[in-house]
Symmetry: C2
Subunit: 191 residues, 2 copies
DNA sequence: GCCGAAATTTGACACAAGTCAAATAACTAT
DNA sequence: ATAGTTATTTGACTTGTGTCAAATTTCGGC
């Protein structure tokens, strides 16, 4: 597990049990079937979606083409931050890639608890920090790596992605055409 | 001004005056001359740098090449988030592009105040949220726009950048070679 | 105002990756 | 098993952008 995520979890576990209970009173579990949408453009994202079981992705459409920005697995949190914090309609889709179980963390209940306990506010802040750093690193990958390098990097960091997801989905995550990804893969198998 | 930044400022102005004073007791002003480094790789980033006057940039080196990730002007906050939150050595430079005046917001003093007042913690969280959304948008630009479109987009959003900064700096911000940027500009002037 | 250095522009060429099209392979459902 | 659909691979060609080199412009110091 990422060390910062570990730190967030540890802090969360060390919360006063009453605070913790109050926080979790706004949690609700839900299941989605493969291909279902957890969020669609136009909707306002009013919750964090904590993945319990399965996989999901976030993507947007640009000139008919789907661009996948995030892949989610166990313990990841799916949210359209832009829509969530600005309380405006989302411009992204969040979709189940497999049968999916999530914990829904409702905005307003969570907000109340955050305002009441500085430790909960800090937990939330740490989550955003993690998200920001993650995005910064991802941008760096796009600025410094070519398609093959990005593929290899993904392969190292998330080997399960390569087995689990279609070439089309991976290509859209790496932001290359599926033909190019196919060529990259055949070259690697050969080499 | 960006509406979310405005919201942050408004909240900041509405803070209890005592809290505000306590927060600002950890602020200190400092001047840098053009070209000076506010942060260098290896150093731990222990403060937020609020720009009062002038311009600065953040960049990192990759294969000898400088890649500028952020440009800062009045009221922007410069920080290596990665180094700041993980308390680890930075891998970026923050450099004055002009004569520069900044307010230095020291980590430990700010941390104390944040832990004490949930509103200050929230302010800090909102700043990070803004940062995360900004990065997300920037990534989107790289995923959906070619070099000319990125240049035009920058031109619209930050016209002063184009006058103030060298082709070399702008090129490194747009992540194109300076030759390519030069060709883009001549094409636009002609068109 | 003039010189040298630095920044910018222009040219020629190379290469990564996109597009369109066709072929093949892998599933799905009957 | 078989037909039909969908996903993946392969081929041919185009294009945006990088690199290296040379020419030109701009700028700072005397």
């Amino acid at each position: 597990m990422n060390p910062y995520i570990k730190r967030i979890k540890d802090l969360s576990n060390r919360l006063n049990p009453e605070v913790r209970a109050e926080m979790e009173s706004g949690f609700a579990d839900k299941k989605f079937s493969k291909g279902a949408y957890l969020l669609q453009p136009g909707q306002i994202c009013t919750s964090h979606l904590l993945i319990k079981e399965g996989a999901a992705r976030k993507f947007y459409k640009h000139n008919e083409k789907e661009i996948t920005t995030e892949l989610y697995f166990h313990d990841d949190v799916a949210v359209s931050l832009d829509s969530y914090i600005m309380r405006k309609p989302a411009d992204v889709y969040i979709q189940a890639l497999t049968e999916l179980e999530v914990t829904i963390i409702d905005y307003s209940q969570f907000y109340k608890v955050k305002k009441k306990y500085v430790d909960v506010m800090m937990l939330d802040k740490m989550f955003i920090e993690y998200y920001a750093v993650w995005f910064e690193q991802k941008l760096k990958e796009f600025q410094t790596m070519d398609a093959s390098q990005r593929y290899l990097s993904l392969f190292e960091k998330e080997p399960k992605v390569i087995q689990l997801l279609s070439v089309t989905t991976i290509a859209s995550y790496l932001n290359v055409s599926l033909e190019t990804l196919s060529r990259i893969r055949s070259k690697i198998v050969a080499g």
